[in-house]
Structures are given as C-alpha cells and as structure tokens.
Symmetry: C2
Subunit: 329 residues, 2 copies
C-alpha cells in the first residue's frame, strides 16, 4: 500500500480552511493509502518559541480535530514529531545538500516573512523548517502529501532532496512525493481577508460550538456596498456565498442557487442568508463535534505512543539506508 | 567531576596545529575532568557532502590520532556524533532560539566563507553547524571546551543558547561553557602560511612517518631573503624557528637559542637547522606513532560503541530536561 504523510503544526486548533485544504482528503484516502499524520510539535516552536507551553495543549486539540473529522486511529498512524528522533538526524543530513540560498529563495518562506512582517527577524529554525518537513515526509517514504496550496514549494524542496539522496543510493530509495492540493486552495476568512488564519482572528474552528458558529456567521463580512436588504448584492467573492458554495451539501445546492438569484436582485436580506449558512455549517460540524467528545474520553496518549513506535521503526530503517547510501555507516 | 567536551570533525587526519591548539590540553586534563571527545561525522558533511564515503575512514584516523597522543580510552569517552540521535533533536530545538541574522554574523562562519571562497554557495547545514556544536557541548553539560582560537565564536553562541534555555528552566540547567584556548592559537604552515591546514597542503600530520617528516621539514619555507648559508637570517616568524620554539623539549632549549644566534649572524645553513628540527619533531612523534600502532590492533568500534551508550544516557536526560523546561513533554 502506498503511503501518505501529512499533518499539522500545532499552533492552534484547525478550522474550515484546513478542512477543505487538506483534512477532507485525508479522510477520503484513508482506505486507499497507509496514512501517517504528523503533529509537528517541534516545528511549532518556529512561531511559539516564547510561549512553548501552549504547544502541548494545541497538539492534543489538533489530534482531536483530525480524529473528529472521521480519521480512524486503527487505520491511520498518528505521531508527534518529537517522538521520532530519526527525523532530526535525517533533516540534519539533508541540510548538507540544500544550499542556504535555495532555502531563502523558497517562495512560501518569502511569503511568510512578508505576511507575518518578520523582516529579517526570524530564527534559524524557521529557515530550516522546510527541511524538517522533507524529513517528515521522506522518513516514511510517502508518495502523496495532501496539503494546502502554500505547501507546494516545500514539496518541490522535498523532491530535490529525494533526488540527491537517490543519486548517492544509485537507486529509487525515495519516491518523489506528489502534492495533493485540496479542492479549495485558500479559503476566505469571515472578515473577507483572502485567507482564513488564526492570527487574523477570522476563523471558524472545527471545534466551535453551535453558538460560536452562529455568532461568527452573523457577524460575517458580506457585500460592503449593500446597505438595505432590497439593494442588489454581489455574490462573487462574498464570503457568505463562498462558504455556501464550499460547504452546502448536494441536497442544498438548489437552495443556494435560489438565494444567489434573490440576493443579486435585492430580494433577500443578509440575515436570512446568514441564518441558512449557520444551518449548513452546523450540519457539517455537528457530527464532528460528537466524534470529538467521544475521542476526548479515549486514551489519546496511547494512540500517539503506538503511532510513534510504528513510525520510528520505519524511520529508523530509512535513516540507516540514507547513511548507508552516503557510506556513513 | 566537571565535564569537558571537545572533539574533531573528521575531514582529515590531525596535524601539529591541532596538537598545540587543543590535543595536548585534552591529555593534560583527562585526570581532572570527565572528558568527552566527539567525532563529528555528520558535521563533516559540511565539507565532504560530495564525497561522504571519506568520512568513515577519517573518523577512524582521527580516533587513532586522539588515542595515540595519550588519551586513555578507559578514562575518556569517545563517541561519533551520528551515534547520539539526541544531539540532532537538541540542535533543532536550539535553532528556534537563534536568529538567522545572528547565525550569519558569526565571525568564524564569516572567516570560513571568505577563506574557503564560498561566496554565497554554502549549505544550510554549514550555517547551522555552530548550533550542532552547541548541542554537542550542552548535551553532556560540559563546562570546559579545549578548542582552537577560531572556535571561540561558537562557544559564545553556545553560552547564549544555554542562557535562553536556563531562562525557561528557571534554573542553571546548563553551565555556560568556557573555552580553553591552546598555547598556540594558530600554528604557521610549512609553507609560511599563517595557518596549518590540510586544504593548504602545508601540514605535518601526527601520523606522518619519520621519512615524511624529514621530507616536509627539509622542504620548509624559511627566510626567502637569505640566499647563502652565510647571509644573516631572520628568526622571527620563520616557520622553522616557530616550530623549534613550539616543539623543542626543555632539554633542547639551549640548543635552539644557539641556533637562533648563529642563524641571525649567518653562521649556520638552513639545512643544519632543519635537520635539527627533524630530530625534535620525530622525538615528539615517535611515541605517538608507537601508540597508534598499538591502538590500530585494538577494537576501535567497541570503544565508540561504549562511548555512544554512555553519552546517549546523559544526552537523553538532558534532552528531557530541555523539553520539560519548555513544557514540551
């Protein structure tokens, strides 16, 4: 069975943007692939180095997010990065084959530096993180990586590293992993910002309660030019309609079309559309909330421990093969 | 007993420059400190990434170099970096607390880039290596590090990291390790270059044979202005006399002074002084050669295995303490 490696950096709970970016693909593919989900806790230090105590809590929340969307821990291997020491050694070897310039040219790194306003104030760990990601992926020789669009640059870096090591190994030691981009590359935030992101405070979390969802949706940004319910409104790019298009079930599609027509004619108010969106989102999220509660009562540490043991066995073999290829052992 | 951590990157055999820079201090201190000697094989990839197969051979040679100068494997712990996985994880955590700018400002890194003519063609691993060195040192909580002068900048970086982690630990988890600089900070090469270095082809190795030493010394750079044996010669900075000052035994000091006086007056030829230097060096190196032969017959892998096990136990505890301090576990 071919392998998938994907995962999350536990810097906060997962939201609807993650859901359409990568999470739903994980669920779909768990029967066709051997799926590994990494909780990249060390990686989380790139943003939480001053408040590292938050990482443990987020790690648990993110595990619950993954479980609650329908990933079966009997099929899927969950592990914490910090439980698989082999990843760090692999990354350190890989870093010898990536030029510093190449690392700085990474477009996603550049975007992050710009969007977070880091200027030249970022850590060495930050500039290294795509290499750790390559080690995460390659340690289990994953062939497919369901990721958001912004992670494509890191996959390209991962493939470059795979090729270098394969050259030394004189074999296909590593597959060249492919990205599987979600059906929505980037989900608009509740405030109209092109990207939903926790630091922007424009998210709807998978773990939000019914009431929180209602409150957030009712306060959503729509069409700023529309003052009265009988003004004709814009549907394109209007976050409320983007969410309806993205999250409405097939059964609701006709209703969504009807709302669009009426909205454009000025025949329906924002409040009515938003109330419908609340229903749509809550019917998506209700089963997720239920599963979350179920898993909260289970022994999550045991899931992570078992996952770490399995991953370490595989990663240990991979590390040995890499060292042998480089004649280091 | 306080600990020392020092060691070598196995990119070649050790030479007289290493001897006076750090090796003789290791021997002197092996009874007063608990000494750890790291063979930083992964680190060697910073320069040997295209010919990694050489590292294994050099690792063995460097271990023999260390043993042959009189380090007792019953007292001193020898280990390969790649046998202590905890170092890589520690380094990865540390790298989150070192700014990329700070890493680039490291004066030794700058010097290396300039002297090796790297321009901007260096690996990410190269820019990371002072952090790995910090992890090497701190994993056993060493308090003293016998090093060459060029390594002082890395010790400063190590102390900065120690302070950051101590702040989180709210305790003196790490000592702030001090450098112990050798009696000769930088030894001139046989060609008159201010630094003896294998890439400069101006070295006398600890493992050179009698004949090799003779050949190298007889071909040494001396005073270029002196054409005939009866021309007055310059002693200051003349590599032959630098070596005599550095390596002559106490019993020979009078003879050295006598040679200097005659050389300055034009009363002795280069050949005679060089022949004397051959004697001086060979009487230093002969016992080293003997010991090397003895150790060559021993089970070196067993020495490294035992050392790795001991170091891993200590490094594992340290890693756990660091993770606890950051609330990662």
């Amino acid at each position: 069975m071919k392998r998938i490696l994907t995962g999350d950096t536990p810097t906060g709970r997962l939201h609807l943007g993650h859901f359409v970016g990568t999470l739903e693909n994980r669920v779909k593919l768990q029967n066709e692939y051997e799926v590994f989900i990494i909780l990249a806790d060390t990686h989380a230090l790139t943003t939480l180095s001053e408040v590292p105590e938050k990482i443990k809590e987020y790690t648990k929340e993110v595990l619950l997010d993954n479980l609650s969307i329908g990933l079966d821990p009997k099929k899927v291997t969950f592990f914490k990065e910090s439980d698989v020491a082999e990843i760090y050694e692999l990354a350190s070897i890989f870093s010898m084959y990536v030029s510093h310039n190449r690392a700085l040219r990474n477009p996603t790194i550049k975007d992050e530096i710009a969007s977070k306003g880091l200027g030249d104030l970022f850590s060495l760990g930050f500039i290294n993180y795509p290499i750790y990601q390559a080690a995460d992926i390659l340690c289990v020789k994953a062939e497919l990586v369901p990721v958001g669009k912004d992670q494509e640059a890191h996959l390209e870096q991962t493939r470059e590293i795979a090729r270098v090591i394969n050259k030394f190994a004189k074999s296909e030691l590593f597959p060249e992993p492919k990205a599987l981009i979600g059906r929505v590359g980037k989900l608009v935030g509740t405030d109209g910002n092109p990207k939903m992101g926790k630091s922007l405070n424009n998210t709807i979390y998978l773990s939000d309660s019914k009431e929180e969802v209602e409150k957030k949706v009712m306060g959503m940004y729509t069409d700023p030019k529309r003052i009265h319910a009988n003004d004709p409104g814009t549907v394109d790019g209007n976050p409320v309609f983007v969410y309806l298009d993205t999250f409405a079930s097939e059964a609701d599609l006709k209703k969504v079309e009807d709302f669009k027509t009426r909205y454009q004619k000025g025949e329906v108010g924002d409040v009515e559309v938003k109330k419908f969106l609340v229903e749509v989102l809550n019917s998506l999220l209700e089963p997720i909330r239920k599963k979350r509660l179920e898993f909260k009562a289970q022994d999550l540490d045991a899931i992570l421990k078992e996952g770490a043991e399995k991953t370490r066995r595989i990663a240990g073999e991979t590390l040995n093969q890499v060292k042998e290829s480089l004649s280091l052992v």
